[in-house]
């Protein structure tokens, strides 16, 4: 047996992987809910506006990624904050990641439960999804990052299935009217927040910097990723407007999946079952990246960075995560007042982190630089 090297930093990844990763992180789970929250055709502009903001944010992030601190990886953080602060921030990050993956997993679980296996005990699915992703993660960070290409290729083409919704009997231009905001309510603000938080994801690149080649044209790849996600959001949203009309959209919980449910092919009907299953590729990928991040973070918090990663420690992380998911699934996720609390928290949190992390890091770097000078 070879040694267990999860965090082998020998080879660096090209910028193209960043493109794939950021794009898929932006298409994790929240986009399933997007049309239900946006409702009105004028929110098309909302998506565009948020895309521009996200682009600005990405510029900040890139500036930081190009700075000297970023190139040093963990050491850079230590220089920036000091060991104790890094441990604190890691702890906060750990909590954030934990909430994020809990929400995306349980959200996906709910989709499976609704559409594929309505009478199944969902803990089983958690178990098997986690089993798969811990296998993926156990192959090491390098392979997991590489895996994104396969994930992207297996999943990306799904967007082309929405093509039939742009052909006349379903697509009528009047479904897109009015294009100017006529009744702006608090729900519209919520919609904007949801768009923003579904754009979040690039900020987790800071966990992956040791594996990314420095001096890359990061901005180029990040811009492409952002643009691709934007066009996917727009496509999906416009297709769902065509299909449901903005009046019915709010009644449907996962409009994007319902649309696929409507499609028929000569070989299969209910294509949604296949596509939901395929979406697991993205989920497993995200879970395994975050699983590694969590394991790494725990090592930082427990001051074990200098030792070799152990199988036992990794296994324990996976098991704890499983228990955490099961706990949340059984006791917290099912509490539903008007809206899912955990989901709301996640929407807020990811919006905030995406806004704050790049700015904060860049500011701090600039300040430090000035102090040194």
């Amino acid at each position: 047996m070879t040694t267990f090297s999860l965090f082998d930093k020998s080879s660096k990844m090209d910028g193209i992987y960043v493109f794939f990763i950021v794009n898929r992180f932006q298409m994790l789970f929240l986009f399933f809910l997007l049309p239900t929250y946006l409702l009105h055709p004028f929110m098309i502009w909302g998506i565009v506006a948020m895309a521009i903001f996200s682009q600005l944010n990405i510029r900040l992030l890139c500036k930081w990624l190009e700075s000297n601190y970023a190139k040093k990886g963990y050491q850079g953080f230590v220089e920036l904050f000091g060991v104790r602060m890094v441990r604190l921030l890691t702890f906060i990050g750990l909590i954030l990641i934990l909430i994020k993956i809990t929400v995306i997993t349980l959200g996906y679980l709910e989709v499976i439960h609704d559409f594929i296996f309505p009478s199944m005990n969902s803990n089983w699915i958690i178990f098997f999804i986690l089993l798969t992703s811990s296998y993926v993660a156990s192959l090491g960070m390098k392979n997991t990052i590489r895996f994104v290409v396969i994930v992207f290729l297996c999943v990306f083409w799904i967007i082309f299935l929405y093509f039939p919704f742009f052909i006349p009997p379903i697509a009528a231009l009047h479904d897109l009217y009015p294009l100017i905001p006529t009744n702006w309510t608090t729900d519209s603000w919520k919609g904007l927040l949801l768009i923003w938080s579904s754009y979040s994801g690039p900020e987790y690149l800071i966990c992956l910097i040791p594996w990314i080649k420095p001096q890359q044209k990061m901005r180029k790849y990040l811009t492409y990723a952002n643009a691709l996600s934007t066009s996917e959001y727009l496509l999906l949203f416009i297709a769902s407007l065509f299909f449901f009309g903005s009046n019915y959209l709010s009644k449907s919980k996962y409009p994007i999946i319902h649309m696929i449910r409507y499609l028929q092919s000569p070989m299969f009907e209910r294509l949604d079952i296949i596509l939901i299953s395929l979406h697991m590729f993205v989920l497993v990928f995200a879970l395994s990246i975050f699983l590694l991040c969590i394991y790494g973070a725990t090592r930082i918090i427990l001051k074990k960075t200098s030792t070799q990663p152990s199988r036992m420690g990794f296994a324990v992380t996976c098991i704890v995560l499983f228990l955490c998911f099961v706990f949340v699934n059984n006791w917290i996720w099912s509490i539903k007042t008007e809206q899912n609390i955990l989901l709301n928290i996640q929407i807020w949190l990811s919006g905030i982190t995406y806004f704050i992390v790049p700015t904060f890091l860049l500011l701090l770097t600039k300040l430090k630089g000035r102090v040194k000078a």
Partner: protein, 493 residues
């Protein structure tokens, strides 16, 4: 654990058996060659009354040439120098017993010149070889028909004829404590990435085992992932495939006594490429290649999909098809999963039997197989007609993969998927696919990623991946092989 222990013992014993270097003498040789029936020790006197002793193994040497080029010239040797009278290209003097022993067993004649007290060795191996025939494992319609044989030298000849350049290097090694198999590492100097060569050298030097009769056994000791079902070395008996791979920047390992040559580093996708791809017109070749990938996909997923749909997702079947399936399944005693397992196992048995049986009785097998699988199972009500059709399609499509080891691998994957699909339906298949792809993504061949040029991503190499692009557009060698010379054409000065 046990393996480790075994290894340690082997190491110990090899340490203790460090041979004492002994001088060669007739008595000691006789002692060593005791009880070997095919040893011939003959004495002759030359015209000059010199006594000459010849020692050889009858079974290993070419007796005609022995008479022609050694015995006759030596006996009629007019002058005292026997050494000069021998009419073979290679004559060596030796002094050590161990050396003599080894050479004797490779088919050489030992000659003792009693007067000058010297031992000569003359290699005169019996070229026991079959002719060069067409390849049976990788048949093609157009293109070169020759294939490798069990002899090392002719195999090297076949490759050298195709690559007549001095940069084509051959390095000889011996592996196997009992079989003493010669293996030859071949590469193009200045083209193949030196890293691969040094990895290969290191791995070959680390091989420690007794018997090597086939290149796959050599491969087993060189690969990094012993438990994977995917072959990490390509095996081929076609010299053109070998030469083509060498030209791209891979290296090959020729093993004595087997026609199969190892090629490394390979990727998953190389196993889907057939030499005919480069002979057909490029759109046709691309189409065929896509069909091959598709049929691999089908052979792995078709039956699991059937089981998934009929066990879990009856909603997914269009009414027209459901009509057929319900009709054929309504009175079956088994659930779809057991039905599929049963049929697939029977099929595997028949497949295996047809490989092992003598050719003459294979007709019987065909008839029995056809009737059992095709007719009787349906009529007896053990399997549905739909499943039979699907089993046939998936089996036939599994044969489209050019690499035979891969064909075996996908049967295993199919069974895994079958199990998953019976538990979780389509979701289970997707889960299996994630696992398999992740596994492939983590595999390496000669420490190079197995799933490139997809992961890691080399988009320029995609011209020869799922499609086979026009040759004139393939101007550079594949990036993922990191060759030292990138361009395939000579650049003008």
């Amino acid at each position: 654990m046990f393996w480790k222990k075994g290894k340690r013992i082997a190491n110990d014993s090899s340490d203790t058996q460090q041979p004492v270097q002994r001088k060669i003498s007739l008595d000691s040789l006789k002692q060593v060659l005791d009880n070997m029936d095919d040893v011939e020790i003959i004495e002759r006197t030359t015209l000059n009354d010199q006594k000459v002793v010849l020692i050889y193994l009858r079974t290993l040497i070419d007796q005609d040439r022995l008479n022609e080029s050694i015995i006759e010239p030596v006996i009629q040797c007019p002058h005292a120098m026997i050494y000069e009278s021998i009419a073979t290209p290679k004559v060596m003097k030796i002094h050590l017993l161990e050396e003599a022993q080894k050479l004797l067993l490779t088919g050489a004649v030992l000659l003792n010149d009693c007067i000058q007290e010297q031992w000569l060795v003359i290699p005169l191996p019996n070229e026991l070889s079959r002719g060069i025939e067409t390849s049976e494992t990788e048949t093609i319609l157009y293109g070169a028909k020759d294939s490798f044989t069990e002899q090392l030298e002719p195999n090297i000849t076949l490759i050298r004829r195709r690559l007549p350049i001095t940069e084509l290097k051959t390095e000889k090694y011996k592996v196997g404590s009992l079989s003493e198999t010669t293996i030859v590492l071949m590469y193009i100097d200045g083209l193949t990435n030196p890293e691969y060569i040094s990895i290969a050298r290191k791995k070959i030097s680390e091989i420690n085992f007794d018997l090597f009769f086939d290149s796959s056994q050599v491969a087993a000791f060189m690969e990094e992932h012993h438990h994977s079902i995917f072959p990490q070395f390509q095996q081929t008996d076609r010299p053109d495939v070998c030469a083509y791979s060498l030209g791209l920047g891979k290296l090959t390992i020729l093993v004595e006594n087997t026609p199969f040559v190892l090629i490394a580093p390979i990727t998953f996708f190389h196993l889907f490429q057939s030499p005919e791809d480069y002979i057909n017109r490029w759109p046709v070749a691309s189409f065929l290649r896509i069909i091959r990938y598709l049929s691999f996909f089908l052979s792995v997923t078709l039956i699991p999909l059937y089981v998934a749909l009929t066990t879990h997702h009856y909603q997914m079947i269009p009414l027209q098809i459901l009509f057929v399936i319900v009709e054929s399944r309504s009175k079956l005693p088994f659930t779809p999963f057991w039905e599929a397992i049963l049929m697939l196992t029977i099929l595997e048995i028949i497949k295996e039997a047809s490989l092992r049986m003598p050719t003459k009785s294979s007709q019987t097998l065909g008839v029995i197989g056809g009737i059992v699988i095709g007719q009787a199972a349906v009529q007896a009500g053990f399997a549905s007609k739909v499943l039979i059709v699907l089993v046939c399609i998936s089996t036939i499509s599994s044969f489209l993969v050019p690499n035979y080891l891969m064909t075996k691998a996908n049967t295993l994957i199919q069974f895994c998927f079958l199990l998953l699909s019976s538990f979780f339906g389509v979701f289970g298949i997707a889960m299996g696919a994630v696992a398999i792809l992740a596994h492939l993504n983590g595999l390496t061949s000669l420490k190079q990623p197995y799933f490139s040029p997809i992961a890691p991503f080399y988009w320029k190499d995609w011209i020869d991946l799922f499609i086979r692009g026009p040759l004139i557009n393939m101007k550079s060698r594949p990036d993922h092989l990191h060759p030292l010379q990138k361009w395939r054409y000579k650049r003008r000065m």
